[in-house]
Symmetry: C2
Subunit: 239 residues, 2 copies
């Protein structure tokens, strides 16, 4: 119970699946950085979480904020993801991801792709996403600690959280069209949210596609549906 | 939007009131520490949060856990409190509290008081609270950053989060009896949860009393009701 790294379970496919779903299916998380100014304190704040095509979580922050100033000085960060639900807060799965933060500004070529994907997940960010003091950080996972509930702790290599696929580039280029096709096929959407929304797909929309799965949203609710196996062909996307 | 420390609002009584309610009314939070082993990473995890009679948040952790090992080496910690609700995660109030962690083991004289209060708030912790590897940390607030929603950021001095009252000792000594009296007076309970539970006090129980307010619980839900002013006499407790 609570995090007990010395009694780790062996990391199996189910643990990795849960870890990926936790990381990919969150709209927000808590981010810890080293507080600037050599105070020696960590500094923790709440951040919106997006997802890059390669599985790296993405945050959008202002240069006026403590965490941005911190990450520009020291890229070492710790991201906590996992939803609280009813009952004991420690009974719900959560994961600590030790990450290296990579800044992405509007000068960078990948900025537009991050921006497009981030806005699909967080439409309200449109209000400030183009403010000159805002930038993205890709949070490259180095290693993670998954706590799936009492007594269920696993070490997850950062590489197991990434989506490495030769299809990524093509999906990224076609994502808008793929999403339109997917969202016009209600049976496909129903299949993706099955199990989460009890088969009632009404109102759910796909907001992101990558080689490992689909992000779906119903208003402010986000659900991540990973494929049983990463896509090998674009035709397997399930439209 | 997002944390903008350079455009802080002036800290007024309402901000301090919200800050205190956020800190005192949470069952759990995210805690950042310095990861042991000189990795230079912060490390973030979810913790249950209790409340000491003087307003210091309290956590219960295992010596086998990373955060415990970290805090025993370096007491500087950052605690994030604040509930997520519907809608934009950044629209909900939250607070970063920079704290100094003070270990409290079963050898310490204050341990029994912390244990009693912690169990009233987290009854399920009884399963492990007496395990030999578990200890408490009091998290003494040094300074805090309150983010009350878009554009509403405040710096809160740590001392404003504490409950300094000459009555604390007496309340602590009588707390069990005071809670029994309070819980047998349903009108009193209704008054405390009024506004939160829309006057329906059914099932709510007071689980903690201090000089600044009352903790109330309905199953796993916690509600903190602070007095308009800290108590000056025990007779004002509202039973």
């Amino acid at each position: 119970m609570i995090d007990k790294p010395s009694i780790l379970r062996e990391t199996d496919a189910d643990a990795i699946r849960l870890a990926c779903q936790l990381l990919r299916g969150q709209r927000s998380g808590a981010l810890a950085v080293q507080e600037p100014g050599e105070t020696g304190f960590p500094f923790i704040s709440r951040v919106l979480v997006g997802l890059d095509i390669d599985g790296a979580p993405v945050i959008l922050t202002s240069r006026l904020a403590v965490h941005t100033q911190a990450l520009l000085l020291d890229p070492r960060a710790s991201l906590l993801v996992g939803r609280l639900g009813k009952g004991d807060p420690l009974a719900h799965a959560r994961m600590t991801v030790q990450c290296e933060a990579q800044p992405v500004t509007s000068q960078d070529t990948v900025h537009m792709c991050l921006r497009t994907r981030f806005l699909r997940r967080h439409p309200k960010a449109e209000l400030y996403i183009d403010f000159p003091d805002f930038l993205f950080f890709r949070l490259l996972p180095i290693r993670a600690s998954l706590n799936a509930g009492f007594g269920r702790a696993y070490a997850i290599p950062g590489s197991d959280l990434m989506i490495n696929s030769p299809l990524s580039k093509e999906i990224l280029a076609k994502e808008r069209v793929l999403l339109e096709e997917l969202n016009s096929n209600r049976n496909a959407i129903a299949k993706f949210v099955d199990g989460h929304a009890r088969g009632d797909a009404q109102g759910w929309l796909a907001t992101g596609i990558d080689a490992a799965g689909v992000d779906l949203a119903l208003g402010d609710e986000l659900y991540r549906s990973d494929y049983a196996q990463p896509l090998e062909n674009l035709s397997d996307i399930g439209i």
